[in-house]
Amino acid sequence: MHHPVYPDDFDPQKSSFTNEIDILALAYEGLTRLDENQQTVPAAAESWEFNEEGTQVTFHLREGLQYSDGSPLTAENFRYAVERTCDPNTAGEYQSILFEIVGCAEFAGLAGEDATTPAAFSDDEYEAARQALGVRAVDDRTLEIQLTNPAPYYATIAYMWVFYPVKQEIVEKDPDNWWKDPANHIGNGPFTITGIDEDLLITFEANENYWGGRPKLDGIEYQYVDDAAVALESYRNGDLDIVQLEPPQIPEVQNDPELSDQYLAYPTASTYNRAFNLTQEPFTDKKVREAFSYAFDRETYCAEIRSGDCTPTLSWVPEGVPGSIETDKYGFDPEAATQALAESSYGGPEGLPEIRMFYNSDLSGATERAEWVAGQYRDLLGVTITLEPTEGTTLIDLRKSPETFPQMLLVGGWIQDYPDPQNWLSVYWKCDATFAQRFGYCNEEFDALVEQGDTSTDPEARVGFYEQAGQILVDDVPGPFLYNQAATFVVSPEVTGYTPTASDVEWPGYLGTPLTIDVNRAE
């Protein structure tokens, strides 16, 4: 299996990137997991229940759970995972995902946010905060989590990697380095990590002690190849079974009589939009935003410019996630675009200030795409856009506040953490959400709706609130919604038994079907 980028770390409580998660997801398992339909299903926990207010969730673990080395796996191991995530000394990248657990934010925040005071804290403070954490192993098979607010989506969050039960005695021997040694990866997932060659190769073997039975494959290898053309050549050569494709390779694969049958594309749970800084002219004017939405030909962009590796969309929550809506509002329409611009307070393209469009120049092919997009606005709206190729980290830094947030981004967007509309809507667009604050979106009506959705325990009512909220987003045009990114691969016909889900970004089936994927080598 091909991967383009070797991860910086793969320590469950510290990782955040998909290329890190797809290593851990084979070797570990959370309390729940996502099936091939992105539904939350039992994993290490066989059942769970919420109290009436929805502020406490109790997980019941399966009987006789074992680690890959045969040692018992208990609720205490999961408690440690939560504690370690919230620990200020761990400082993991997904710490904040657990801030709804009582005491987690306080524990993690011991250092304080006030930059004028020293960041140190005493052992006593540390111990007190650790004790105050609202997670408890009642017995070997029961884990109780206290939440600060009703959070019916918590069973889904429990699938996430921060819940992966690393072994305390191993981690504490070397909290920073333990994950580099394959011997330390004693996990509870369907596979075990058996070899780590930095930058080159990670090998897995089937875990005989997995509760769900032994997976069909004896082993998996992740091979790291930076250059996409080299990886594809290696695939042609028969060295790799699954290879991730870059957009320029797609026409090449599709025109190849042999490879075209092995091409696999499916939409992922990610939505991209043209992000505007809503505090900066001219995008303070909704009519201008409308014009930019009308003037963008999503079909041609996905089909031609991106060679079919995306699906156009006009709404935010992607299909397949509860709360997604269908709409054709503000779709491609050059005339409506010109008209909207004429109706704006600027009266037409001549009245507009200079518009600068930023994009991440580290991404392969981004310049071509930016040139095409800017060309569209030039030809259809008569707006000349200055392109700002920006190095990735610089761009991230610019996006941290509305003062520096780029006037216009080629693409902004969201890749889901867990398939719940709360993750899509509340985490991103609420007035007090970090993301919405960066570019200045705030709609109180929207906030009220998602808050009702977040706290309601009735699944159907929740979806109703989220759908209404999603419609508000469409109406407000905070940044025209463009497309859902697809994952594109070539997969050897010898590989069988996998079902890709929208969350499988790195290779088809690592979340839903690691047990059934198989290879039948032609002799």
Partner: protein, 333 residues
């Protein structure tokens, strides 16, 4: 007259040498041009460079299509070069797009024509700047020796010690968005960086040559016959060190063009411009980089700019060789 006799053998040689120098210097310029014209390859090279300058200046008149504008549905994405048939009508070659189209349907030939502009400038200006800085410093250090040599060479040590690519990347990232970094789509920053990184190489090369040359008999001879430092350098050392200098100069050109391509490969190249009448919409380096990714779809995106870079390198090499021969004092004698 009478003083000649005692050291006859040595003086004999000296006299011969300095005589030839005198003769050379008298008619250096006009002779050089005559000599240069005699070198066919050099003239071809020069002719090609002049031709390229015309292409660069009159790009709008030469290019059949606008280099930045496209209707991908008409032009077709990755359309093949004109003489290549393809069953798919959107990909089959047509003379509307002589070298086919790129990933978003722009005409490769027109982009090649416009690309001449940046690539000529990117190749030529740093070369001139580098030679103007590097050669005098190298000559001064090598000739004067002593503390001046020491100071200048320790300075080059520092500049040299910077890993070149690191310097490029960090300069681009930290200065790329300043007003200075934005001048001419980032061209000026590129020039400055290229020059800073490369002058030391030339300086050291020239110093090494100078050190060797100034010990040579004919230089000793000229010195003995009373030539001043300036004269020694310009008349005796520089002309004899020209060979390596010219090679170095000729190699800076493709080096700079390629450096620009590599920076684009790393995502920190020049700023693209989508203005319909943008003077510098693209460069050969960027085209090579685009072509590397998609050469299996449309190989001419890669071949065309690569050939262009190779040809410009050859021309500079020929012109350089011709210049060296033309300026060589002995050849003229």
């Amino acid at each position: 007259m009478a003083t000649v006799a005692p050291t006859a053998p040595a003086l004999d040689q000296q006299a011969e040498v300095s005589l030839s120098r005198v003769r050379a210097s008298r008619s250096l310029r006009s002779d050089a041009w005559r000599q240069f014209r005699r070198n066919k390859m050099a003239m071809v090279g020069l002719g090609y460079l002049i031709f390229l300058s015309f292409v660069a200046i009159f790009a709008p008149a030469i290019a059949p299509n606008n280099p930045v504008q496209t209707d991908v549905r008409v032009a077709g994405k990755y359309r093949q070069a004109a003489w290549i048939e393809n069953p798919n009508p959107a990909k089959s070659g047509t003379w509307d797009y002589p070298l086919g189209t790129d990933g978003i349907g722009r005409d490769v030939f027109s982009r090649l024509v416009y690309g001449t502009r940046i690539s000529l400038v990117v190749g030529f200006i740093p070369m001139v700047v580098i030679l103007l800085i590097g050669v005098p410093i190298g000559l001064a250090a090598g000739f004067a020796g002593g503390w001046l040599d020491n100071a200048l060479m320790r300075l080059t040590d520092i500049v040299y010690a910077f890993p070149a690519l690191l310097f490029f990347i960090i300069m681009q990232i930290s200065l790329g968005d300043t007003g200075f970094g934005r001048l001419l789509n980032g061209l000026v920053l590129l020039f400055v960086t290229l020059s800073i990184v490369n002058w030391t190489g030339v300086a050291r090369l020239v110093r090494g040559e100078t050190l060797a040359l100034k010990e040579k008999e004919f230089v000793e001879a000229a010195r003995a016959s009373g030539a001043g430092a300036g004269r020694l350098i310009t008349r005796h050392i520089l002309p004899n060190a020209l060979g390596p200098i010219i090679v170095a100069g000729a190699f800076i050109v493709p080096g700079a063009i390629i450096a620009e391509a590599v920076l684009t490969y790393l995502g920190i190249g020049l700023r693209p411009d989508v203005n319909l009448n943008a003077p510098f919409p693209t460069s050969w380096g960027q085209m090579i980089q685009d072509g590397q990714k998609s050469y299996r779809n449309q190989s001419w995106i890669l071949i065309a700019p690569s050939v262009a870079v190779a040809l410009i390198t050859l021309s500079f090499t020929f012109v350089g060789d011709g210049l060296r021969d033309a300026l060589d004092p002995r050849e003229n004698a």
